[in-house]
Structure formats: structure tokens, C-alpha cells
Amino acid sequence: MSGLSHTGEGPSAEGLSSTKDLKEALTGDRDARFVWLCNFEVENRWARGYTGLPAVRGSATAATVQRMEELGALLAEPGDHLLLDRPLDAHYRRYAERTGLGAPAELVTRAPAADGGTAAAVLDSPELLDRLRGLARDGARLMPMGASDREQRIAELTGLRPAVPDALTYERVNSKIYSRRATEELGLRTIPGFCCETAGELRHALEEGLREGGPVIVKDAYGVSGRGLVVLDSRKKADRLLRMVDRRVRRTGDDALHVVVEAFLPKRFDLNYQFTVDRHGRVRLDFVKEALTAGGVHLGHVMPADLTAAQRDELAVAAELLGKRLFADGFFGIVGVDALLGADGLVYPVLEINARLNMSSYQGRVTELFGRGDGAALAKHYPLRPAGPVGFPALTEALGPLAEPPRGRDGLVVTCFGTVNAQAPTPGGGEPPTPFDGRLYAVLFAADRAGLAALDRRVTTALSRFDTTERTP
């Protein structure tokens, strides 16, 4: 991770190179103008044709995930555009500008997104499509987090040339089955496990996987964060799952099932590294971070990761091999890889390949501007439980001096505010307000890990006024 040292002068976005580097890798032009679409829901689109684990319909966090598109505001350059299904909060936008990062021009859909996300809402916004046609004539490029048929349709209708590969390539290389096979074929250290494409193969994999006593984790080939996975630590639980899967096979007459079954290895910590494959197949390792996760749910990243030089070298070799393989399979662009440092001290370089923008991709310009040389950073979200919607001014008031951009000192940058109120209930007729779950995304900067921990505690305390947890059952 590159870091800039700061003088006493206010930082500015002009000298930042991380997004320019990305533009050059994808288009050959450092000054390309991008129309960003941070379509987190694209994974659902890739998953359509692949039966996974039995799953409940809908999502408890869809509204929050939708608002995460606002993370793109700090990744985009001020001369870029950002597609959104509702405007950024005006106070937050002013804050973003005050940090020195700036904010892109907003392109807002005619109506808030429904299940199809912002991409579908863009397609339903004729005036916005016209605006995009104008930008296309001026040479702007479409930069989605990942491409599906919807993003391709936007490109076709507007003439915006995509800065990314086609939808079929994205779909092919983002399967966890692809990840496992590529890892094995490249001779990289692979988590013991199996690829399954039928219910019968799942039965076999569970029998083999649990032979040593388990536990094993079963993951959908196209699972999205927090869904499509189950940890099985006993035959009894495996039998429960197989019973459910077999019932579905009998009901549908189709035994297709796209999952991987892997040993649930004891670990020191999870890792996330990112590399970029440019249009000519050159691979550049961007960063390695420690990933904070709980039960398969992403919680945040710490950088730098606490690895030895040899462990870092191993990841660099893996990045190079994976990048070349992805390029040979038609992909170029940003690739995030989840990996593991096992309790045995061995690096397992691939848990899964995410060939798209990742959570940590969005922190590029923020860490470049505020990261201090050999300092440390923590990207995370703070769960809030407010009794009613929280305005950005109330948030900054609670944070006090912590809300000031951390120029040359410990502090934080708020990277997504829309998620705070995403799940706020619609005001009703005189009913008492219901507390709801919100998330505040931020990146914390300090001199070292101890400083980060202290800062994290200060932020948690400052935000406690928005937490009603103790007053509920």
C-alpha cells in the first residue's frame, strides 16, 4: 500500500495516483473519465444459473448493500461520474470535499432501485441514459464493480465503452469452482476440499471431508457475502443438509448443485490481497491486508498484514500466477483474493478469487492520501442501532475532533454514510420509532496497531449514543 507523507498543508486529490493507475491499467489512459457503477448486487446476477445450497428468499441486508454503492464516491476522481439510485447526503458530500479527496458528479436514477439494483434503475431512466450518451460522446468509459448483462445493456444503449471485460468472462472467473480448479492447476497450496456439480458429488464430498472428523465448510459457487455457506461439524449436521438437498432433487428432478466443500482449517488470520491485471496481461500486486471476518461475514481490513517476508513473497508469486491465468481466460482488471494464514504458519493463497472491485478496492485513494508511510490503518464498519434516522451533522458532532480529516495524526475518514440509515423504517402514523441496524464505514489511521486499537475504542465510545441495544430485549 502506497502512503503519502503529509506536510502541514491541506492534502489534495490532484497528486493521488491509485485511481489513475487503475485507469491506465484498464484503458491505457491515466486521464480517462469514468462513469462508476458500484453494483454490489452484480453477484446475484452471476449466480442466476447455478443452483446452490437451499436458501431463504430475499435478504435481511439488501437495503444496506444497495447504499454501499456510495463507497464509490471516494474511489472516483472528482472529474468522474458516479451512478447512484439516490443522491449522496449533502452534508456528507461537503465532508468528502473537505477531506481533500473530492467527490465525483452524481448521476441519479429516476427512481430508487428495486431488486435489480442501480443498473436496472439506470435502464429505467430515459433522461439518465441520454445524459450517459452525451458522456459517451465525450469519451467517458463505463466502470462497473463487475459486469453482468445489465451493465452490458447500459453500454450498448449509451455507447459508453466498458473499461472492463464482458459479462460472460466475469461470470466464468468468479465461481468458487473456478477458483479451486485454477489454484490446483497452478500448483498453489490448496485448501483440502472438493468441487461439486451434483447432489451426489456433495454426498461423496461430505463423506470424505468428514472422515477426518471435520469441520467442513460448504460454499455456493456464487455465494455472496454472508449467504450461501454452512459449516458442518458433525455427520448429523451433514445428514440434515443432505436430506434437504435430496428433497429438492426429488421435487425438481434436477440434481445440479454448484458448491465447493472445504476443510475448515484452523487459522491465525484471514488475508485479502489485491492485484491488477492490465490490458496487456501484466500483473501488479496492489496490497496485502489482514481481513477481519466472523462466520463468513466480512468485518474489515487491517494493514499492514502481520506476515513474514517469505509469506509475502509467497502471495506475490500466487498473484502473478493467478493474474496470468485470469488473463489467459479473458479477464483483466482488479482482482481481490481471500486467503488464509493457517495455524500451521502456512499461507493458503486462495480461499476464493473475486475478480471485481472488492471492499478494500474502495479504500485506495483514502489510504493513499491519509496513510502515513509505515503507519497502520483499519477499515471497518461500526454497527449502530439508532432509534431514528441519524443526520451527518449529528454523527460528526458525536465524533467531535475525530471527524476532522486525519492530516498527519491519528483519526478516521468516513467512507460510507448512506448505510447508517439504509434500514430506517418508513415513518408511520404515530407509531413509536423502532430501532434499526445501521452501519458506518470508516478507515482509521494511526502510527501502529496499538494506536489503531485505542482509536477504535474512542470511536466506539463516541458512537455509543447511537446504540440502543441495551434498551431492547
Binding site: 430475499g58 454472508g226 434437504m244 421435487r251
Partner: protein, 86 residues
């Protein structure tokens, strides 16, 4: 099956998944917000519920809204029982 038996079974499935004792829940207790069930645990919870009350649950027939509270999940289980139980 009596409603309070289903609530007890829901408690027992929750206890297994959350790996802590769960009892005395009222029906308005929310599974995600109040008990901190997370979405990765939903499938495991349904599998545990099948064992606890000897029913067959088809997850794809449920909506996340059925997981709003102890009461909504109990409603779902009872609705599944109705055809054979009447």
C-alpha cells in the same frame, strides 16, 4: 402442534445455532436485530428446527420476512403443519 411447543422448538434451534442458552422469548423478539442471528446461520437454524419438531422445511418456500421475529417464524412452521395436522 400447539403454538407454545413451536416457540420452544424455535428457542432450541436458536440455542443450537447461537451456541448459547435461549429461553423465555416473547414472540415479538426479532431474530436478527435482538438475538443477532446472522444470515449465514439461517440454513443451519432451519436444519436444527427440522430435527427439533420433526417437520420438513423447504427453505425456498420461506422469505426473509418469515425470520423477522420469533412470532413470524412460528407462524410459518404452523402454516406448514396445517395440511397434515388438521
Amino acid at each position: 402442534m400447539e403454538r407454545h411447543h413451536v416457540v420452544t422448538a424455535v428457542e432450541s434451534a436458536l440455542a443450537e445455532v447461537l451456541e448459547r442458552p435461549v429461553s423465555g422469548l416473547t414472540e415479538d423478539v426479532r431474530l436478527f436485530e435482538d438475538l443477532h442471528l446472522d444470515s449465514t446461520s439461517v440454513l443451519e437454524m432451519l436444519m436444527a428446527l427440522e430435527d427439533a419438531i420433526d417437520i420438513s422445511v423447504d427453505p425456498e418456500s420461506l422469505d426473509m420476512d418469515d425470520f423477522k421475529s420469533v412470532g413470524t417464524l412460528t407462524d410459518y412452521v404452523l402454516s406448514q403443519q396445517a395440511p397434515s395436522g388438521v
